[in-house]
Subunit: 152 residues, 2 copies
Amino acid sequence: MDLDHLDKQLVTLLQEDCKKTTKQYADSLGLSKTAVYERIRRLERLGVITNYVALVNKEKVKRDFTVLCHIRLAQHIKENVLRFEREILKLEEVSECFHVSGDYDYILKVHVENMTKFREFMVTKLTAISNIGSTQSSFVISEVKSSTAISI
Amino acid sequence: MDLDHLDKQLVTLLQEDCKKTTKQYADSLGLSKTAVYERIRRLERLGVITNYVALVNKEKVKRDFTVLCHIRLAQHIKENVLRFEREILKLEEVSECFHVSGDYDYILKVHVENMTKFREFMVTKLTAISNIGSTQSSFVISEVKSSTAISI
DNA sequence: AATATATTAGAATATAATTCTGTATTAATT
DNA sequence: AATTAATACAGAATTATATTCTAATATATT
């Protein structure tokens, strides 16, 4: 596994837009269609590229209200921690959940329609999970930067 | 703008994998290729789907160390706030930056290779930005859930 | 009910992906 | 250094898919 400069450029392009034609990437890189085609297959085979997805405009699908929820667990007994994580995976409003160091144990990214729906989510879903000690919600006022790309 | 059940199903499928053939989506939805083709074009035209991207495995590109940085500004004068946001946009290590309510003003998602690189980032880039009051770093121990899809 | 509009299916066509062939380049082996 | 093997490449040939076209059907509008 070693990516040369062309591979890195290609990954960068694919992270920006994966729906261009092979010819277009080829022109950007100064390679032939076949060369690019083989490189993409290789990046997929190596697991560098994991999948290709469509991104949606949250406003257009009425999930424009984003909250970063900080959670402290009540106790850190293994079984309870695992149950907590299992429950989180089931919540459709949660797109991301990180186990973190620091003041809190977990940080979640939650997408809902509005404050009313968020309250509903908190009351009926999140705090319904046992073992939650305390939560602190940071409401997203604006997305200064929002990219799925990893700079390489 | 009103998405029917088929549109929502289609958006869900495209958020999971946007590289299937029109025929495959058509079979999943019980529609013809043309019907699906037209619906996808419409979703793009309406701005529901904004773009198509490749996702990469952070481990494979040596950006496996993720940190959520909480930032408090020193002062909230408009010009300084805008300068801060402009500077953040330039930092390649930062994939996301949210202006939030609560204890801190901003929460950043940062991807680097390791702790050494993170320290370097903090010292030479992040805290080099003027107007930063204080920071609190939450190191990601594990990604319990990590999706780019919005549930609709 | 009549008309317009949008959605659909299937066929025809255009475009792009994939495979194939041969060549050049690089790396490995002796 | 010469030889072999492996890899990456370009261009042509083929296959598969996207896109367009046509006509029919459904949905909404008056």
